[in-house]
């Protein structure tokens, strides 16, 4: 069974201390405020708040999901024929299996091209605290020509 598109997240409870990311907004936005005191400037802190794994509404994310969705089907195609629900969508009925397979293959090529540098994914989902230090995280979304202009201002 091929690996899924996204590394399996370990659904675990992070240790209470040391994992700054999960409590960052509490430290910065909660806690007591005394109005007559000064608050240190938080310029630049936005960088810390970015987590590459979260689902953000952006064109890059949508494209990534679309590719993943198709790749998921390809994996089922090649690995198993026992999941009719996944295999036999409306497309199979309307235009026939061969055509579907062909379309899927061409999409598959695109997926391979786009996801080719998939090592990035493995690096970025790593919840390494050092990664969250005061520098912009590298994007994990696949690079596509023309996608730069749509990138949200994050860094």
């Amino acid at each position: 069974m091929p690996a899924t598109t996204y590394s399996d997240e370990v659904v675990a409870c992070p240790p209470r201390a040391g994992t700054l990311y999960d409590v960052l907004e509490l430290i910065l936005d909660r806690g007591m405020v005394i109005d007559v005191f000064v608050r240190v400037s938080l310029v630049g802190i936005e960088i810390l708040k970015i987590d590459a794994r979260i689902v953000v509404a952006s064109v890059d994310t949508y494209l990534r999901f679309a590719e993943a969705c198709n790749r998921l089907d390809l994996e089922r195609d090649s690995g198993s024929t026992t999941i009719p629900e996944l295999l036999g969508g409306g497309a199979a009925k309307s235009i026939g299996k061969r055509k579907v397979r062909k379309a899927a293959e061409s999409v598959g090529d695109t997926v391979r091209k786009v996801v080719g540098g998939g090592d990035d994914d493995a690096d970025d989902v790593d919840d390494d605290e050092e990664e969250q230090q005061e520098r912009p995280r590298k994007r994990r979304a696949p690079t596509r020509s023309g996608s730069n202009r749509r990138r949200p201002v994050e860094a």
Binding site: L26, R30, V40, G44, D51
Partner: protein, 249 residues
């Protein structure tokens, strides 16, 4: 040496000893002292002149508050509160002593747990199986591969993952709320479908954690549930500014 002001970490009951070895923000780390006024004391250090929200300083702030809250009730300050000088701190403590004592009592024996729910990103297979719209858009994309079709499919997938996670988050919320003394919702965090904090009896921490871990396990195909705690009660301190602003409005 208070030219840059006094960094205030927390308010505690007077007479408590500061945790041995605990240090403050800055590089080198500033040493801590307690400024006592009546029944309460402020834990402070000199403020570094170049104080910013650095990782190192955020951690120093957090670690000290964790240490303090392990030993007793604490009113944790938000990161980066700096008073002009010690006189200003004493003045504040004197003015609000009764209120702070009440708040410390209210939080006594309590700790904060925070949960964040994010869409599970490896839930695609489950989503495709469940979501007719996603299946339809996927089929359309297969018939007519293209940019717009990809966007439509991706959008539907993102929305579907969020919806599934949000539903699971609400179930988690209703299961965890009876385990807590109070619940409050945290500031919106990008990508999270739920960000909630619970005020939990310290003695019930393990039970709370156990329930949360079970929920995390059983709904892992819908959401990634992240639990932090026990924490200082950041989310359950009195909000000073609110009343003042409300009056002004």
């Amino acid at each position: 040496m208070t030219a840059d002001g006094v960094y205030v970490y927390a308010i505690i009951r007077a007479g408590r000893r500061l945790p041995p070895g605990a240090r403050g923000v800055g590089s080198p780390e500033r040493s801590l002292r307690a400024l006592r006024r009546g029944r309460i004391a402020a834990v402070v250090s000199d403020a570094p002149s170049d104080l910013r929200a650095r990782r190192r300083d955020l951690l120093a702030h957090q670690e000290l508050l964790l240490l303090l809250s392990e030993q007793g009730a604490v009113l944790p300050m938000r990161f980066g509160m700096v008073a002009g000088d010690e006189t200003a701190v004493h003045g504040q403590l004197a003015t609000r002593e009764a209120e702070y004592v009440g708040a410390l009592e209210h939080l006594s024996g309590g700790v904060e747990f925070n949960i964040k729910a994010l869409p599970a990103q490896d839930a695609l297979a489950a989503l495709v199986a469940e979501d007719k719209k996603v299946r339809r858009l996927r089929d359309e994309l297969r018939r007519h591969p293209g940019y717009e079709a990809s966007i439509r499919l991706g959008e539907a997938v993102a929305a579907g993952l969020r919806r599934r996670a949000a539903e699971a988050g609400q179930r988690a919320l209703s299961e965890l709320t009876p385990q807590a003394r109070a619940v409050t919702f945290g500031p919106e965090v990008r990508g999270c479908v739920l960000n909630a904090s619970f005020l939990v009896d310290r003695g019930a921490s393990e039970d709370f954690r156990g329930v949360a871990e079970r929920i995390a396990r059983t709904s892992r195909d819908r959401m990634e549930l992240r639990l932090s705690g026990p924490l200082p009660c950041y989310s359950f301190v009195p909000a000073e500014g609110a009343a003042v602003r409300a009056q002004g409005a």
